[in-house]
């Protein structure tokens, strides 16, 4: 089959990725992320009224009781109400609030959940998250450099960093809440995108060895064409289940599903363009993947 000249459009891809990253970074530095309770600390209370709840009267009750800075929104249905108290309220004040709401309304109020996160825990989680992300990127780079070659490792890490930044940018732009599950999703995106990139890199390496008398750019085009079917099918099945999760999984898992939906989409693109373009710009050649020992040693060497 004829290879599709993917790399002919790489300048478009570079421009596109560049634009996406610049937008993401700009948005992250200008309006940052809508940090969830896990990272900011504070109190979150979800209650269910037996009938549709009157948000303005809840707000006035809370204002009377001296809960300054309380944010009252409806959550999912008009009967579910979410109250967020900023950091600084004690855990007892949160629990007391439910009693106050009960006595102010003649409707039955059911407590769905209370989450209280102290400020020190929030800071720690944020630091740990950052460290985990960097450790993941570092270890992956080492592994790929060891199993493939340093140019491939750089390509993979560029692709991963690209996905993480663009997904973060998406959360910053849309103002979706960034909580602990979204952080977990982001690490899962790293894992997924990596999976994709490795499959493509693996094929490029194989073809560099196999196809003689071909420019690197042609080898990459051939490899991308060969893996395109697999890349699309896997992304499609993953996106299918993620869509199911986003639509039916409920509010608590929505952010997680959205982060993965965005991340997997970006990851599919990046494994094709970002990693390969990096390889091309770094001037990958046959010499980089030559097997030093006898022919076929790579096969045995790859098995654990």
């Amino acid at each position: 089959m004829n290879p599709i000249p993917f790399m002919k459009w790489r300048w478009v891809a570079i421009a596109l990725s560049g634009l996406a990253i610049v937008t993401a970074v700009a948005s992250l530095s200008l309006q940052q992320l809508n940090w969830g309770l896990d990272f900011t600390g504070g109190t979150l209370i979800e209650v269910a009224y037996s009938d549709s709840a009157d948000l303005s009267s809840i707000r006035s009750v809370l204002a009377e009781e001296g809960y300054e800075g309380a944010v009252v929104v409806s959550f999912g249905t008009d009967r579910d109400v979410l109250v967020r108290l900023p950091d600084g309220y004690s855990d007892e004040q949160g629990a007391l609030m439910v009693d106050k709401l009960r006595s102010s309304s003649d409707m039955a109020i059911e407590l769905r959940r209370i989450e209280f996160v102290g400020p020190q825990v929030g800071d720690e989680l944020r630091d740990d998250g950052g460290i985990a992300m960097l450790t993941a990127l570092g270890l992956v780079m080492l592994y790929v450099a060891f199993r493939f070659q340093i140019k491939f490792a750089l390509g993979a890490v560029f692709a991963l960093a690209h996905d993480v930044i663009v997904t973060l940018g998406f959360f910053s732009l849309t103002g979706l809440e960034f909580d602990l599950t979204v952080l977990a999703a982001l690490l899962a995106v790293v894992g997924y995108s990596l999976n994709d990139t490795i499959v493509v890199s693996d094929r490029i390496r194989e073809n560099l060895r196999k196809i003689r008398r071909a420019e690197a750019i042609d080898v990459i085009n051939i490899s991308l064409t060969e893996t395109l079917g697999r890349t699309l099918v896997t992304s499609l099945t993953t996106l299918l289940v993620l869509a199911a999760l986003a639509l039916f999984g409920g509010e608590m898992i929505f952010g997680f599903a959205v982060a993965l939906l965005v991340g997997v989409t970006v990851g599919t693109y990046s494994s094709m363009y970002v990693a390969s373009t990096t390889l091309l710009q770094l001037g990958v050649s046959k010499e980089d993947v030559m097997v030093p020992e006898r022919e076929g040693a790579d096969q045995e060497g790859m098995l654990p």
């Binding site: 089959m1 269910a48 855990d91 007892e92 949160g94 629990a95 059911e110 959940r113 209370i114 989450e115 209280f116 996160v117 102290g118 020190q120 825990v121 998250g129 985990a132 993941a136 270890l139 992956v140 592994y143 199993r147 602990l180 599950t181 952080l183 977990a184 690490l187 899962a188 790293v190 894992g191 997924y192 990596l194 999976n195 490795i198 499959v199 693996d202 094929r203 064409t225 079917g229 697999r230 099918v233 896997t234 099945t237 993953t238 299918l240 289940v241 199911a244 999760l245 639509l247 039916f248 999984g249 409920g250 608590m252 898992i253 997680f256 599903a257 993965l260 096969q299 790859m302 654990p304």
Partner: protein, 625 residues
């Protein structure tokens, strides 16, 4: 063959998760000596029958320590609890529970269902932090007091003060300092001593080493852990979890608890010990109180104590069982600086009198009240039950460190030390995180999670069948086997299922297809390259395996990092993801291959039903790809 065994094993260990648990009531005695026997269970049964609540499977467990009653209707669980609690009265704890319905033949093979996380079962999750700084400060005070006392006893003249993490001793003569150095080294070998000469003074610094502080923190945390365990038991929760996390955190999980305010009050209570003098016989009644002994051997015996409290448990920093010079069992008690001062002030003038140690437990009395609408509501009224642990004679003026002697045997001394430690908090604790999930939200999360798994799985199955035909069937079968194995391994590991964990399962379903897709793509290529079907299958599998391993090992690295940093629900996600990666590798490399061999093996095959490469389609499909 082996695959069949593995899959059968998978089904066996995954099976318990299919049996929905029964709503149940668990009855236990409020104190450990209260046994549950047939007549008591009979009263509970009668009460339920009278109230018209159907039940079954009543059984006495743990050699009479508790009993279980299963209910047919989940909605009646709360009402049943109220009815039984009313009938049995305050001597018993009636807790809501979910009783597993795993059949015996599964249980005998060691198969048990997965535990549900709090976000699915409902309940409270607390994270407590032990105030390490306060514990360290307290220890330093103890050093200061101890050194001062020792120097005074040995008539070494010098000044002792605290300066940050060290004790500073100042002497007029070098001989004094040398004497002090020997004494301190003997008394506290863990301190690091350093001599510094100044123009008009000889100084001795005693530094607390990092190792000592680590040990101290460990001690304070384990101590608090024990205390909190005891207090959790007061709450009467069916399956509580109390666990240390990291250096100075304690995680408490209480499934099914609704009244978080009360739970927090009990857990956060500072201390529950009181030291009081035994009242003199002629003391006016308004100044004394009568208390019963706590131990079973002295039942009914009482003692009159003064109303004034010398110190309470928060001043007690340690209590250890040991032996004195005559190898008689004793308990050594350490107090903090303030406690030591109060103790010495109170005992100096009262040598030869006796001092009582009270242990305080929070208990409940239930009262039933009629509301305006004529409904009867149960009101739990908490009260403190104070009982006497011991009342030894004061032999001399006591300080920050003293011993209780005259105990009958080592068993008694270790029991007393345990109770003293349980009543003291080695260091103050604060709540740094709290997550409460109501039972309705938990049930909803289960429903939503199950639905998204079903929908996701259905979509993938349809897609694979349409796209890969017969090979798609093989992949779907392998995928189902993969799911069964995943659930089986999670059950075997005793992993807890959380909402993000369910998301992990869903994600695994999506990604597990990948390995199959890789293999099938390779086989298609081999066919296009002109290889005969059987060779194409063999080559396709062999060449894809390398790629699959590389791709999955890197993903596994990420999942392990996620496990290392994650807490609670996120850890659940990391576990499902890791297990999912491993089982999906196995199922696609071994499982799919076996199925494909089953379909096509051992015969000459003209064409493979793998979709997209049949005859004229090759060119079109190839171009589209």
């Amino acid at each position: 063959m082996l695959i069949l065994i593995v899959v059968a094993g998978g089904f066996f260990y995954a099976a318990p998760n299919l049996y929905a648990p029964d709503p149940a009531l668990q009855i236990a005695g409020a104190s450990s000596s209260q046994m549950i026997d047939r007549p008591i269970l009979g009263r509970a049964e009668q009460a339920l029958t009278d109230a018209g609540i159907p039940f079954f499977g009543e059984v006495i467990q743990e050699q009479g320590k508790s009993a279980l009653l299963r209910l047919t209707d989940r909605d009646q669980q709360l009402r049943a609890q109220a009815v039984v609690a009313r009938e049995l009265g305050d001597g018993f704890i009636v807790a809501l529970n979910l009783a597993p319905t795993t059949p015996d033949w599964l249980l005998q093979g060691g198969a048990t269902p997965m535990k549900l996380g709090l976000d699915l079962s409902g309940g409270v999750h607390f994270k407590l932090e032990v105030d390490v700084a306060a514990a360290t400060e307290r220890r330093l005070e103890q050093y200061e007091i101890g050194i001062k006392k020792r120097l005074r006893e040995e008539r070494v003249r010098g000044r002792v003060s605290l300066d940050g993490q060290r004790a500073v001793m100042q002497f007029r003569a070098e001989a004094d300092r040398e004497a002090a150095r020997k004494l301190v080294a003997e008394l506290y070998p863990e301190l690091f001593l350093d001599r510094v000469d100044e123009t008009d003074a000889w100084l001795l610094y005693a530094d607390v080493t990092e190792q000592t502080i680590t040990e101290l923190v460990d001690y304070a945390v384990t101590q608090n852990l024990t205390t909190i365990r005891n207090r959790v038991n007061e709450l009467g929760v069916s399956e509580p979890l109390v666990q240390r996390q990291g250096r100075n955190r304690i995680v408490v999980e209480l499934p099914g608890i609704q009244d978080t305010a009360e739970a927090k009050r009990i857990l956060g209570k500072v201390a529950n010990l009181e030291f009081r003098l035994v009242a003199e016989a002629n003391a006016p009644i308004s100044e004394r109180q009568r208390f019963e002994y706590r131990s079973a051997g002295r039942e009914g015996m009482t003692e009159w104590l003064e109303r004034d409290v010398i110190i309470s448990g928060e001043s007690v920093s340690n209590a250890q069982a040991g032996f004195d010079q005559n190898s008689q069992p004793n308990v050594s008690i350490s107090l903090d600086g303030e406690g030591g001062m109060l103790m010495s002030r109170a005992t100096r003038a009262n040598v030869k009198r006796r001092m009582g140690v009270l242990f305080i437990e929070r208990k409940y009395r239930t009262r039933y009240e009629m509301t305006e609408s004529g409904e009867e509501v149960a009101k739990r009224i908490p009260y403190d039950e104070k009982k006497l642990l011991t009342a030894p004679v004061i032999q001399s003026a006591l300080g920050a460190q003293f011993q209780i002697t005259g105990l009958d045997n080592p068993g008694e001394s270790s029991e007393l030390a345990l109770m003293l430690r349980a009543g003291a908090l080695a260091a103050p604790i604060t709540f740094v995180e709290e997550r409460t999930v109501g039972p309705s939200l938990g049930a909803e999360n289960i429903r939503l999670g199950t639905k998204s798994v079903q929908v996701g799985l259905a979509l993938v199955v349809i897609f694979m069948m349409l796209y890969y035909r017969v090979f798609g069937v093989a992949a779907v079968l392998a995928l189902s086997g993969n799911l069964v194995l995943l659930v089986a391994i999670m059950s075997l590991l005793g992993a807890t299922l959380t909402l993000p964990g369910i998301a992990g399962i869903v994600l695994t379903v999506g990604m597990a297809v990948d390995a199959n897709v890789l293999i099938f793509a390779r086989i298609r290529e081999e066919i296009r390259g002109g290889a005969p079907p059987q060779t194409a299958i063999g080559q396709g599998f062999d060449r894809a395996v390398v790629t699959i391993l590389d791709a999955n090992i890197t993903t596994l690295i990420v999942a392990i990092i996620l496990y290392a940093i994650g807490t609670g629900p996120v850890k659940g996600f990391a576990v499902t993801l890791s297990v999912g990666i491993i089982t999906s590798m196995l199922s696609s490399i071994i499982g799919t291959r076996a199925l494909v061999n089953l379909f096509y093996g051992g015969r000459r095959v003209q064409a493979l039903s793998i979709g997209g490469v049949g005859g004229a389609k090759v060119a079109r499909q190839g171009a589209a790809e």
